[in-house]
Every structure is written in C-alpha cells, then in structure tokens.
C-alpha cells in the first residue's frame, strides 16, 4: 500500500482557493447540479474570483451547483446548453450582465472532449441554419454543409467523484458521472472533490473511469450542502 499522498495531490480547500483567479476559464462538471462538486463551488465563491468564464452543461438552480456562483454576478460569460432551471441567469443575460452562448447539449460535451483529447474540433449538421450556429464556420465537403465545432479547454476544471485514489484515479456515482470525465481531460488544472479518498491500489483497474493522469488536486467532500429541487417541493 502506498504511503499517504505519495503523489502530492491530496490537499485542502484552503490551498485550492488560490487556483481560482479572476478572468479564468472554468469548466465545471455536473448536470442540473447533479455531479457538481458542492465544496469546490463554495471554495470558488470564497475565493472572490470574478469575471470568470464558465463552461458547463447548464446554469444549475439559484441555490444548487454552479447556480450559487452565477447569482453573485461574478461570471462574465457562460457556455451552456440551457439555463431554464436558473431564472437569475436569464435575468442577468437580459440585463447584459452575463453573456451566454447556447450550445446543443451533446455538442457541448463533445467540444470539451475534443479539447481534452487533443483534436482540433469536429463537423456536424446539428444546428446548421439555426440561431445556434452563431458565427461558427460552415465547411462544405462533397456538396454537404457542416458546422465546425471548435475544441474547448479550460484553465481550471472542477470535478465531483465518488472515489479517488491518491494518484487521482476516479470512480463516479450513477448519473453524477455525466460530463465530469471530460472536464478532467480538458482542464489544465483539474481539481477533484471526492466523497472518499483511498490509497493507491484500492481501486480495481477495470472500474476506474478517469485515470489519475488527468487529476492535479484532490479534496475530500463534506457532502451535498443544498436542497435538491424535489426536496424543496416536498417540504
């Protein structure tokens, strides 16, 4: 069994704070807040970072996931597939305080994957001729037209995992996996909040979803600190 923190990746929230900088490009894992790291969101809020460029599936809810940061008006831009669950994001957009680029959901995760796997973007017919084509290049090949979707990378990525070993090998929990693996791949500095950190050798090599090569820093989660939408409605 390896010694504790052999790879020097295990750290604490206080030290993580310094990675969140003004003007950074931040990729966040999660889908409607599910799979978004709650402790790292609070840490991002505490860091005071502003003018942040966010990229992720959606805007969360005003009290869930990345939504908690968005409502503070410290995000400059957001690339996401929808903001339907966070009306504050819509208000900020309409007031010109948050610039939003909408992307089809699967195209967005594929753009992140393209950045994370060292490819230079891809072609698709999806979105062609619609408002979501924005000013993306149109490529014609064999008399068919395609949109060019460029790769996305980020300065910092925040990821939520079920388990991490000290090398950063990751295992996820059910639908909290979603886009987290690609956030880990496409971020220059990848920070993981894991429900549990285990010694190297404790994970089955077959069950590892994200190899530790992609992970730079790991903190232990103190658990979900928001009420899910369905908990709110029930109570």
């Amino acid at each position: 069994m390896a010694e504790k923190n052999t790879f020097n990746k295990c750290t604490d929230y206080k030290r993580i704070k310094s990675f969140f900088r003004d003007d950074m490009k931040l990729l966040f894992g999660g889908f409607g807040g599910v799979g978004t790291p709650p402790g790292l969101i609070d840490c991002l809020i505490d860091s005071g970072a502003k003018n942040v460029h966010l990229i992720g599936n959606d805007a969360g809810f005003p009290w869930i996931g990345i939504g908690k940061f968005i409502v503070l008006e410290r995000a400059a831009t957001l690339i996401a597939s929808h903001i339907g669950s966070n009306p504050v994001a819509g208000d900020l957009m309409n007031k010109g305080k948050l610039k939003i680029e909408f992307s089809p959901q699967g195209i967005l995760v594929e753009r992140i994957r393209s950045g994370g796997t060292g490819l230079d973007g891809f072609l698709t017919e999806i979105g062609l001729g619609t408002e979501l084509a924005y000013d993306k290049p149109v490529i014609e090949l064999k008399n068919k037209r395609y949109l060019y979707e460029s790769p996305i990378k980020a300065d910092v990525g925040i990821v939520y995992a079920r388990k991490a070993d000290e090398f950063g090998n990751l295992v996820f929990d059910k639908t909290a996996r979603n886009n987290n693996p690609y956030v880990a791949m496409a971020s220059k500095v990848t920070i993981v909040e894991a429900e549990e950190i285990v010694p190297v050798g404790n994970l089955d090599p077959e069950e590892i979803i994200v190899p530790g090569i992609y992970v730079d820093h790991i903190v232990t989660s103190t658990g979900i600190n928001w009420k899910w939408i369905w908990e709110t409605l029930e109570k």
Binding site: F31, G32, G33, V34, G35, N57, D58, F61, A80, S81, H82, I83, G84, S85, G90, M93, N94, I100, F102, S103, P104, Q105, G106, I107, V109, E110, R113, E125, I126, G127, G129, T130, E131, L132, F172, D173, K174, T175, A176, R177, N178, N179, N180, P181, Y182, I209, I224, W228, I229, W230
Partner: protein, 219 residues
Amino acid sequence: MGDIRKIIARRAAAEIREGMIVNLGIGIPSLVPEFIPSSVSVYFQAENGILGMGPEPLENKDGNLSNAAGYPVSILPGGSYFDSAVSFGMIRSGYIDLSILGALEVSGKGDLANWIVPGKKVPGVGGAMELAYGAKNLIALMPHCDKNGRPKIVRKCSLPITTYHCVNKIITERAVFCIINNEELQLEEIMPGYNLADIKNYTEAGFTISQELIINKEA
C-alpha cells in the same frame, strides 16, 4: 390545462411498443410513463447518462440518480450508467427508437421550435436539437392552440427553429397528425370531443386527411 396535458400524454403512450428505447423530453412528455401499461416493457434513456430508467422511488431517493430534469429515478435490471458524451452518441446515431418532445410550434413540414421565446422564456436548447436530429421516430406534443387561442401548427414557425424537417407526428388534445416525407401534413385521428371543423379552424398549416382517419368518440 392539467387535463389537456394528461389527454395528450395518454395518447402519446399508445405509440410506445414493447422493447422500444425511448427518450422523453421535459414538460408533457414526462407525464407519458404513467399511461404505459405495465405489460409493455421499454427502456427509457436520459441524456445525462442512463439507460433503463425506472420510476421515482417512494423512499431512499438518491440525489446522484436522476433523470435529465434532475428528478429522482430508479434503474431497471439491465440498465446502465455512462457519461453524457456516450449518451449523446446514442442519441445522434439513431439508437433511440422513439423520442417524444414538447413543442412550442411545429410547421406543416415538420420544423420544430421548442427552445426559446425571445425576450420571454429563455430555457436554452438542452438536448432537443440532437434528439430531433437522431431519433428514428420523433413525436411532438403540445396543446393545439396557445393561451390566446392561436394555432401552434403553423405554415412557418415564428419562433427560432430547433431542427428543420424532423417531426414525424404531432399529438394535441384535438388531433393526431403525421408528417409524410417532411412535406405532407396528414390528419390521422380526431380526438374525443372534437370534430373536423375544430381542427381545420385552428390549424394554420394546410393538411390532407388520411383515408383511414380515426374519429374517436367521446371517452
């Protein structure tokens, strides 16, 4: 409105057959499962990364096990979890047999508008473009008219388009239409309580009438 939504959802459920892989959008489509007979077994897929989604559990709801709208679900035997790139890979490449989406407007040629009402509702497109692009069969559900009584089946969509030429069938509380070859809107069925005039007067797009038109009597 509650009743209308359930009427549409019940009729949509009748389109689902044994063994299908089905993706349901938010809104009216999310009501469909309660009208599927328990004898019909299907696998529901959700964009966030699950195939074989079961109903919301009564207890021990798990925040990490949810559908694409963030609500708790369960998983059936044979179900699997995967990342959302794999999920959309399935969706784009035609492995979903049936996709049922809510709509704001549909044109007579099957153009779908369901992602934005400029200046008002700004939900964003979500997975709708890819679901519309990839589904073997796409059914759009919506009330026949908007709040002001104006038709939602139109000659040309006034709202921004999600995907052109993608809808195969439209189900409203008044009627069921199919769209043949992205060209011909055809009335297949008149729903209980309505007659042909109710449909003709409230459908902007021109349509033909199926030779096998079904006229449902009052339920």
